[in-house]
């Protein structure tokens, strides 16, 4: 949208051809002899050792999974173990040149990558640094297990530590790297630059981009590698991540200091299978995966296919690519060709491939082949090789013994501490800025045109005579959100915001109007129409320590970011054993007027998922206070806004919305109107329908309704609602969400449970119809209306004298409608 980018019809309509550069395929062909000038013998042997450690680690797991036994240690591991036997050269080559600042993200099959990156980090770090990391991480709990048994050097101890922390995590031990809460598919160790693996195929495809974005925006050293499988090229989030990472604006529009492609390397560990599906020849059409790079940007993502069976080929490629990334030329795509000998998982009978194929690849086994080359080149003797092999077996046996011992490696005691996992779902911290430093802004806050405009507005919606002030002069709900956000932009240097139309337009609903003037590009930018990547990158940004506000323009687009919102955002704090924070506030705008795919209130869907805080303010005062609280916190918050009421003034909080900073605690409902006769609990914009209904009840039926605005869905303090119900004995709950499965049903059920004896009638839930949302002109038949509320009270709670119901609320109709699935 930037005006300075002129779209010239003369250029755009010109005839021509798109040309592609050749994409290198397995170009590396050097011998050990040739590489001797680049590597010392020790380097070459270390590469071998690292591969051997990974191989034995995976063999151990395979034996335990298939025979319940390894070297005399009996153990049953019922959980997952997706093994990477065969892929060791790819993993070690990938990690060889990475520093601790370089981050890797993984997949379900990442044990090898974790170990390779860890071994590389141990090699690069000094003994003191290692000591500090090991002693500090989780109060040295993991270290205390291994240090008793290791009498060697600090580096030897660190290797034990790495192997043990990983294996204990796989076996769900509290001494594991993530207290056993991550497990095989989610083990990670940030101090060594090992970031989360991901059990969802391609899950790291956009999260890793967010980590690269964090590095770019906050000028952090290092690159980010997303180790994902070849089959993940079929996943939307991976494409969205690649598209996001290759946005032109990074090079064209971002300010000089921040210019440059994101330092992200999509490393497709191409083992040529996705479950049993063969990517080349069956489930994909790319012929060679590296070809895809050519479709993403003119640099073709610097794509290459490299021989992942040769560790030196991988090392060489990563060395070159890292340089490119450090020079701001990302993103990069590598098609690292490899092969897994084990199945997708140990339960996989490999019925989809032939024995000949397996034998052919095993014949060229990377470990054996490299060993042969080393011996041939005189780098190492057979005896030395055997010595290394024996040491590795001894090491893995020792670690396995420790990690399978219930005394040494206990699991979380949920019987004794039943709340321990619950207490990790949120970090609940109050942090003004995620990092110290001066936030980069374009001008002083009071010079901002929007800030100046708001200064002239009335911060309470009614004048002295109780008459509503004209909309244009009123401080609106969108102003409340804006004030909180711009305030945080001037406090927290890490805060960034993006989404569709976030910049010049000021957001589709003018919430961000004025932000463009205040903020440089790297803090506020337009994203591609990639909801998955919008949230996914925010997750990566948040877990690296930055605060971020991704925006989903319409609630209906939440489906587009389902995996990110349901599987990623809520999980990482607890799955990391509270190592990570997730200060991500996802703004979600609930529409109206635009029909079936642009008007849905899906707050119930996210409220169902453990690990998300969910708020839905309906007044300017609440919007500002809740946004302040969300941005002060360290937890993921889904922040719902309603397009019906962006322009609404403040009618409840006198004398108006405060100019200064304040927080409204997430989880506290608010009594918007007091009354003794019936309670109406609302979520979102239906607050105003409830207030209208309350007026009718007062005027026509002499009933005083107490209207409570839930404000938050998760967490939620039921006490004020229960107190109200104790007083009134009656409660009606209303929101714009379709009634079936509405979160209000959960609330009604909880209220019934907690206040049963106080209820004079069943709690009645009013939601929208279980239909598609019709055109705006017909919306009154779909969304809850004032008369629905009155009819429901009359029919189900307390007959209103003289009231004539319009809606058919009979039990028979309800049963019949439900039986039709409507």
């Amino acid at each position: 949208m930037p005006k300075k980018l002129f779209i010239d019809p003369a250029t755009e309509r010109k005839s021509g051809l798109i040309t592609f550069k050749s994409i290198p395929v397995n170009q590396y062909q050097k011998s050990i002899e040739e590489e001797k000038k680049n590597y010392s013998n020790n380097d070459l042997i270390r590469i071998y050792r690292d591969m051997a450690i990974i191989r034995e680690f995976e063999i151990m797991l395979n034996k335990i999974k298939t025979t319940n036994e390894y070297n005399g240690i009996s153990y049953n591991h019922p959980g997952p173990a997706h093994l990477s036997i065969g892929q060791e050269a790819s993993a070690v080559g990938m990690a060889y040149n990475l520093s601790v600042e370089d981050l890797i993200f993984g997949s379900h099959r990442s044990h090898g990558e974790i170990l390779a990156k860890g071994l590389s980090a141990i090699h690069h770090l000094g003994e003191d640094a290692l000591k500090t990391i090991m002693a500090g991480y989780m109060d040295g709990k993991t270290l205390s297990v291994v240090e008793k048994h290791q009498k060697g050097s600090e580096k030897d101890l660190a290797i034990d530590y790495l192997l043990y922390g990983t294996l204990a995590e796989i076996f769900a031990r509290e001494t594991g790297f993530n207290k056993g809460l991550g497990g095989s598919m989610h083990a990670f160790f940030p101090p060594f630059g090992i970031y989360p693996n991901n059990a969802i195929v391609g899950g790291s495809g956009d999260i890793a981009v967010g980590a690269a974005l964090f590095k770019q925006v906050n000028k952090k050293p290092g690159i980010v590698v997303a180790n994902i499988g070849d089959a993940s090229m079929g996943c939307g989030p991976v494409w969205e991540g690649m598209v996001f990472s290759s946005m032109d604006q990074f090079r064209n529009l971002w300010e000089d200091d921040y210019k440059g492609g994101l330092p992200i390397l999509f490393n497709f560990m191409n083992n040529q299978y996705g479950m049993g599906g063969q990517t080349r020849g069956e489930t994909m059409g790319y012929d060679m995966l590296a070809r895809v790079g050519a479709g993403v940007n003119p640099e073709q993502m610097h794509a290459e296919r490299i021989d992942g069976y040769n560790p030196l080929a991988v090392i060489e490629a990563f060395k070159r690519k890292k340089k490119l990334l450090e020079a701001g030329k990302g993103p990069v795509l590598l098609d690292t060709l490899t092969y897994r000998y084990s199945g997708h998982s140990p339960s996989d009978a490999s019925s989809y491939r032939s024995k000949e194929e397996l034998d052919a690849w095993m014949k060229e086994d990377s470990l054996k082949h490299y060993e042969y080359q080393l011996i041939n080149a005189g780098v190492v003797s057979s005896d030395q090789i055997n010595q290394i092999k024996n040491q590795v077996i001894e090491m893995i046996t020792h670690i396995t013994r420790l990690a399978t011992d219930d005394e040494i490696s206990p699991r979380m005691n949920l019987a004794r501490q039943p709340e321990i996992i619950g207490s990790m779902m949120f970090s609940n911290e109050s942090v003004t800025r995620m990092e110290e430093g001066e936030p980069v802004v374009n001008h002083k806050l009071d010079e901002n045109p929007r800030v100046k405009q708001i200064k002239r507005k009335e911060r309470f919606g009614l004048d002295k005579n109780g008459k509503p002030i004209s909309k244009i002069k009123t401080y609106q709900l969108r102003d409340g959100i804006f004030e909180a956000i711009i305030d945080r932009f001037y406090k927290d240097p890490t805060l960034i915001a993006y989404g569709e139309e976030n910049r010049e337009w000021g957001g589709a609903f003018a919430v961000y109007r004025g932000l463009t003037e205040a903020l440089p590009y790297h803090r506020l930018f337009n994203s591609p129409i990639s909801e998955g990547a919008i949230v996914g990158t925010a997750i990566g940004y948040g877990m690296c320590g930055g605060r971020v506000i991704p925006e989903i323009m319409y609630c209906d687009f939440l489906g587009r970011t389902g995996d990110e919102v349901f599987n990623q955002l809520p999980k990482w704090q607890a799955m990391s054993g509270n190592i990570l924070k997730m200060p991500v506030v996802v703004r979600v705008s609930v529409g109206s007027k635009y029909g079936a795919q642009h008007s849905q209130d899906w707050s119930s869907l996210v409220a169902h998922i453990p690990g998300l805080k969910v708020v839905f303010p309906a007044t300017p005062y609440d919007a500002k206070g809740l946004m302040n609280a969300a941005l002060q916190g360290t937890d993921p918050v889904i922040f719902f806004e309603s397009q019906r009421i962006y322009d609404i003034g403040e009618f409840f909080h006198k004398p108006g919305v405060p100019e200064e900073y304040y927080e409204i605690p997430i989880g506290e409902p608010d009594i918007k109107r007091e009354g003794n006769d019936i309670t109406i609990l609302t979520i979102g914009a239906t607050l105003y329908k409830a207030i209208e209904a309350a007026h009718v009840l007062d005027e026509k039926y002499n009933m005083q309704a107490e209207v409570i605005d839930a404000r938050s869905l998760v967490p939620f303090n039921y006490v004020p609602v229960l107190d109200s119900v104790r007083k009134t004995g009656k409660i009606l709950l209303v929101s714009d969400a379709s009634s079936r499965g509405s979160y209000l049903k959960e609330m009604a059920s909880t209220i019934t449970e907690l206040a049963f004896d106080d209820l004079d009638a069943p709690p009645v839930v009013i939601g929208s119809r279980n239909w598609i949302i019709p055109a705006h002109e017909l919306e009154t038949y779909f969304f809850p209306q004032v008369h629905w509320i009155l009819d429901a009270i009359h029919h189900k709670i307390i007959p209103l004298k003289g009231h004539v119901a319009i809606e058919d609320l009979s039990d028979d109709t309800l049963i019949s409608t439900m039986s039709k699935g409507v």
Binding site: G729, D757, D758, D760, A761, H795, I798, P799
Partner: protein, 439 residues
């Protein structure tokens, strides 16, 4: 952890058992293997042993209670733990035994009054809140018409009724519903309280002029003892008159002496009692207790004597009554009677098992003859009647009128037969007729 002990099921056909004895009391420390209680079915008796060591936190049934099998009988645990959750939801025995205490405010939830019993009969739909408010305001739900959706009784219906009527306690409501009792609507207005004791039958309501008097503790004990006495023993009464001239003379002399000097006021009753003590010394078969499988005969006489007080009948005991001279005897008797009147009597001295025999005197009320009721386990009680003149042959064909004092001896035929009882009564008569004592 508090653990309930259930009434075991002894055989498939057994539905209830009776607790025959508790070996442990509430609050007592118990350890595994101790005898806890014994119980019986209609066919056999059993002992229940303690299975876990701890404190006996509460007992839900008493000796003699009939308990459905598998019902919680008591709870063992650590001191301070709550036992409410184990309390059997329905215990008809308990509800009935302790009316006075149970007739307090009670929400009806989890308490002694099972919820289903205050549920209205029939198809009446009542909101939980209306039911709760009815409990708080003492409104009977029966017969209410609901103004809520589908005729549901809702809070406002209860409030409307509560505006007009007194507070009816939960037990009263339960009784009203169960036993079809009513209260006098003329008498109890809003703001007043109707308890189960204020309930009357429909017939009472018609006759109107009734008053219900709650039983005092003393009344309850008397009622219980008297009923048990007649229920459990074989009582028979013999009547006999004794020539009262000697004691009347002595009484006149006492009165005269009292005008002149400080002497104890020795009444006719003192004299009769004194005579009885002497007779008892000669007849230890009636100066005795009957204890079911054996009899205790007392060498000394511990004389119980009935005293009418404001709080009801009391029977203090004068221990070792045979050891006193008549004046001492009279002083002691007077002292004990006064202590009963003023409520300062040692309660131990009121126990029926303290006395070996009792005298009850209704002569002052002009009673000519009555059948006193035994104070079990005592074997005998002597009723003393008014003095009446009877024609008596004075010899030589001359008839004269002689004052006779009536004596009514009730004895327990389980312990003693008619002849020895009669011999004792004769002894009393002789002692009275030959009464010769210093004052």
């Amino acid at each position: 952890m508090a653990t309930p002990v259930i009434m075991p099921r002894q055989g498939q056909s057994v539905e209830t058992c009776i607790i025959t004895q508790w070996f442990k009391q509430k609050g007592e420390q118990v350890k595994a293997g101790d005898l806890l209680f014994s119980y019986e079915t209609d066919k056999a008796a059993f002992d229940e042993e303690v299975k876990i060591t701890g404190t006996l936190l509460g007992i839900f049934f008493e000796e003699g209670d009939e308990v459905p099998v598998l019902t919680n009988v008591c709870v063992i645990g650590e001191e301070g733990e709550s036992i409410d959750e184990f309390r059997p939801g329905s215990s008809e025995v308990k509800v009935e035994t302790d009316e006075e205490e149970k007739d307090e405010f009670d929400t009806g939830i989890g308490g002694e009054v099972p919820d289903e019993k205050i549920k209205p009969v029939g198809d009446l739909k009542v909101s939980p809140r209306a039911r709760k408010r009815a409990g708080e305001l003492g409104v009977v739900l029966n017969g209410l018409s609901g103004s809520g959706p589908k005729g549901r009784v809702i809070e406002r219906d209860v409030l409307t009724v509560a505006e007009k009527q007194p507070f009816i306690t939960p037990l009263a409501r339960k009784k009203m519903e169960k036993d079809h009792l009513i209260y006098n609507k003329e008498r109890y207005k809003k703001g007043e309280r109707v308890t189960s004791k204020d309930l009357v039958t429909q017939t009472d309501q018609i006759s109107m002029d009734v008053e219900r008097i709650p039983l005092s503790r003393v009344r309850k004990i008397i009622a219980e003892n008297m009923y048990r006495s007649l229920h459990e023993s074989a009582q028979i009464t013999h009547h006999l008159g004794a020539d009262a001239r000697k004691i009347m003379e002595l009484r006149a002399k006492v009165k005269k002496e009292m005008e002149m000097r400080e002497v104890p006021n020795i009444t006719l009753n003192d004299m009769v009692c004194f005579a009885t003590v002497r007779a008892l010394k000669q007849h230890s078969d009636i100066n005795a207790h009957f204890r079911g499988d054996h009899i205790i005969r007392y060498r000394s006489v511990h004389l119980g004597f009935a005293v009418d007080t404001d709080r009801g009948l009391m029977v203090p005991v004068l221990k070792n009554a045979q050891s006193y001279s008549l004046p001492e005897f009279a002083i002691k008797m007077k002292d004990l009677a006064e202590k009963c009147q003023t409520g300062k009597i040692d309660p131990d001295l009121l126990s029926p098992s303290m006395a070996s025999f009792t005298v009850s005197n209704l002569g002052a009320y002009g009673v000519e003859m009555f059948t006193p009721v035994l104070n079990l386990p005592q074997v005998g009680i002597l009723g003393v009647n008014t003095i009446q003149s009877r024609p008596v042959s004075m010899g030589n064909g001359v008839m004269g009128f002689v004052p006779f004092i009536g004596l009514s001896l009730t004895y327990d035929h389980r312990a003693i037969d008619g002849a020895p009882a009669s011999l004792f009564l004769q002894s009393v008569k002789e002692e009275i007729e030959n009464f010769r004592e210093n004052i």
